[in-house]
Symmetry: C2
Subunit: 355 residues, 2 copies
DNA sequence: TATTGGCACTCAAAAGTGGTGATTGCTAAT
DNA sequence: ATTAGCAATCACCACTTTTGAGTGCCAATA
C-alpha cells in the first residue's frame, strides 16, 4: 500500500521516539497554549526516558524544523512544518462523539428546507461543534442550467425578475424597463422564455440560432440579456455568498489576547480576496482540507488555520464548509466536526437535488 | 414649545459655563481617548477663566454625575449621563460633507437593484462613512400582502415554493409533497392560487369563506398552509435578516486594546437577543436613535453605543440601519452619516416600492 | 553507543524601586 | 465669585532585581 510505504519512507527522517515526542508536544501545546519543555514531555508522555534524552531529541527536531523556541530559555512550540506533520501522520483520527452526532442530526431534521435558513443552521452548528468561527457557501452547480423565469410588475417601468436555476439557486433583480409594460405582457414573455430556455446552459443559449431567440427586440431582448448576465455571474462566482458564524469563539483563545492576530481572522472572514481562491480550490478537492497559515501561498495569514471540506454531489451541486481558527487549534475535533457535517450535507443534497 | 421648556428646565441644573465645560470635555475625550484635565479645558476651551475655576466646576459636574475620574490623579471622562447630555443638548449637528454625500449617491446609482446587493452596499457604505461597524435590516412591510406564488418541481415529491410579497421580499422553501405531482399540475395550482390570493393579507385569507379556498384538499391545502405560514413569519419577524459590515473598523479603536470590550461588540452583532428588541423599537420610532450602553435597559452592553435610524416608507416598507461602536464615538459624524444614508434609502424605497 | 544525572547558563516574566508629571482639592488672597 | 499657590495623590515609565523554567553540554554509566 502507498500509505504504508510513505510511512516507512518517513521513518528515515524521524525515529519512532521522535515522532512520539513531537506528537505529545503538539498535543500538549494545543491543549495549553504554553511552550512545552522536556520535563513536561517526560511527565505526561509516558516514554520511559529521562528529560535529558528528550532534550537531545528536541534539539534534533528543532534542527529538522519541526519545532522552535520562542526564546532560549523557553520550551518548544510546533512550527508550521510540525503542525503539518502532526495532522498528517501523528494525530489520532476520531469520530465526533455519538451524542453530538445525534444532536446535530436532530437539528437538521427539524428544519424546513429553506436554503437560507439551512446555510445559517449549518454555520451555527459548525461553529458550536468545533468551538470556532465557521463559514459555509451555498451549494452551487458548475454549468448552471436555466430552470424558470418569473417577471412580476412592480410598477409601470420596473419589474422584479426572478430567475431559478437548476441547482435551486434563486436570483432576483429589479429591472428598469425602457417602456411601461403590463403584467399580462410580462407573463406572456416569461412563459415564452421559459419554453425556449428550459434546461439550457448559458453557452447553449448564446450559441442558439433559434430565430425566436435571436429575433427578440426591445425590452424582451433586455430581459434575455439580464438573464444571461445573471447566469454567467452565477457560473463565474463559484463562491456566491458566504455564511459565517461563531466569531466570538475565536475571541476566547488566549493567543488573541493582543488584537493583532485576531484582526487577521476578521480580515480573512470579511475580505473575499483571501477566501475566494481557497474556497474555489477546496471545491475541486475531495475530503477535508487543512490549510495552515504561513505555509506556501498562505503566508499572509500567518498563525491562522482553516479546516475545510467540499460537500454535495459533484457536478450537480456542491459547496464548501469549514472553520477558521488559530494555528493552535484542536485539529482532531475540528476535522471530525467538519467531516461529519459535510457528510450530513452530502446526504441532504443528494436527497433534495437528485436521486 | 416642549423643546424650549425642557431646555429652560435643564438650565436650572447646569449653568451655561458648566455646559460649555462639559461640551469641551466630551469633545476632547472623543477626539483623544485620554482623560481630560482642567488645564486642557482651559487651553482649548476658550472660556476666559482659570483652571482653578474649571476644577471647581468639574467637581460640581462630578457630583451631578456627568463626569468621573478613573483615579484620583487623573483627568475626567464623561459618564453615560454625560454622553447623553452631550448628544442631546451640546453637540453641534453637522451635515455630512458634500463630497462624501456625492460619493455615496454615486455608489447607489451604479447599483443594479437587487435587494441583497443593495443591503450589502448600504452596510458597506455606512461602515466606511462612519468608520465603524454597521448593520442594516432589509425593508419590510407590516401587513404583507400576497403578490405571487410559483411552484417548481424539483423531483417527484419535492417542489420549490417561491413566494413574492408586495414589499418585494422573496421567500423560498423546499416543500415535500405527500404524493408525486407533475410540473403542469403544480403550475395549474399556482396560477389558481395567484388569482385567489392576490393582494390579500394573511388575515383576509384566513377569514375568507370562498369555497375555492376552503375546499382545497391534499397537497394543494398543504401548499396553501405553507404560504400562510411563510406570510405569518414574514409579518411576525419585523427583523428578518441583518446585514453587517465593518467590524474591522472597531478593532482600530484604542479602547479595544484589551479584548473584553471588543467582545461585547461582537456579541451584540452576533446575537439577535440584544439586537432584536432594539431594532424593533427603532423601527417604530422616528429619526436617529442613540442608544448608549449602560443606560437603562442596556446595562449589559456597557461602553458600547448604537446610532440607529428607521428608513423607508412608514406602513409600506421600512427597515433599520445604523452603526455600532464604542461609547466614545464621534457622534456628530456618526449621526450625520446614519441620517444621510437613511434619507437616501427613504427616497430609493419610495421610488421602487410606491409612487 | 545511547542514556542519564548534574550543573552552569540563559533569559523572559514577575516583582520591586524610584522618579516624573499631570491633576486634583484646599486655602487664603483678591 | 474667582483665582493663584501649593501640598498631596497616584498612574505611568524606566529601570533594576529576583525568580524559575528550561536549555545545552559534559562526564559518568550501562
Amino acid at each position: 500500500m502507498a500509505e504504508a510505504e510513505k510511512q516507512v519512507a518517513e521513518e528515515d527522517v524521524l525515529t519512532p521516539r521522535q515522532r512520539e515526542i513531537l506528537r505529545v508536544l503538539v498535543q500538549e501545546y494545543i491543549d495549553t497554549a504554553v511552550p512545552v519543555g522536556s520535563a513536561t514531555i517526560q511527565r505526561i508522555g509516558g516514554l520511559g526516558v529521562s528529560s535529558a534524552t528528550i532534550r537531545n531529541e528536541l534539539a534534533r527536531l528543532e534542527e529538522l524544523g519541526y519545532v522552535a523556541q520562542p526564546h532560549t530559555s523557553a520550551g518548544r512550540v510546533p512550527t508550521v512544518k510540525g503542525y503539518r506533520y502532526f495532522v498528517e501522520r501523528l494525530m489520532e483520527q476520531v469520530e465526533l462523539p455519538l451524542p453530538e452526532q445525534r444532536m446535530i442530526r436532530h437539528q437538521f431534521h427539524q428544519l424546513q428546507l429553506n436554503l437560507d435558513q439551512w446555510m445559517r443552521l449549518t454555520a451555527a452548528v459548525l461553529a458550536h461543534t468545533a468551538r470556532s468561527a465557521s463559514l459555509v457557501t451555498p451549494p452551487h452547480a458548475v454549468n448552471s442550467r436555466f430552470r424558470h423565469l418569473e417577471l412580476i410588475s412592480i410598477h409601470d417601468t420596473v419589474c422584479l425578475l426572478i430567475l431559478v436555476l437548476q441547482d435551486g439557486s434563486i436570483h432576483q433583480e429589479m429591472l428598469g424597463l425602457s417602456q411601461p409594460i403590463a403584467q399580462e405582457e410580462l407573463s406572456r414573455t416569461s412563459s415564452k422564455l421559459n419554453t425556449l430556455l428550459r434546461n439550457r446552459t448559458v453557452r447553449e443559449i448564446r450559441e442558439s440560432t433559434n430565430p425566436e431567440l435571436t429575433g427578440l427586440r426591445g425590452w424582451e431582448a433586455q430581459v434575455l440579456q439580464r438573464v444571461l448576465e445573471l447566469m454567467e455571474r452565477a457560473d463565474r462566482r463559484a463562491v456566491s455568498e458566504i455564511y459565517r458564524d461563531g466569531l466570538i469563539n475565536v475571541l476566547r483563545q488566549p493567543e488573541f489576547g493582543s488584537i493583532e492576530k485576531f484582526r487577521r481572522v476578521v480580515e480573512i472572514l470579511e475580505h473575499r480576496r483571501f477566501l475566494e481562491p481557497i474556497l474555489t480550490r477546496t471545491l475541486n478537492a475531495s475530503g477535508v482540507q487543512i490549510i495552515i497559515g504561513g505555509e506556501g501561498p498562505y503566508e499572509e495569514i500567518y498563525d491562522v488555520s482553516l479546516v475545510l471540506s467540499p460537500y454535495g454531489v459533484r457536478g450537480k451541486a456542491s459547496g464548501v464548509l469549514g472553520i477558521v481558527g488559530p494555528t493552535r487549534m484542536p485539529y482532531a475535533r475540528a476535522i471530525s466536526a467538519v467531516r461529519y457535517v459535510a457528510h450530513l450535507m452530502d446526504n441532504l443534497i443528494a436527497e433534495v437535488y437528485g436521486e
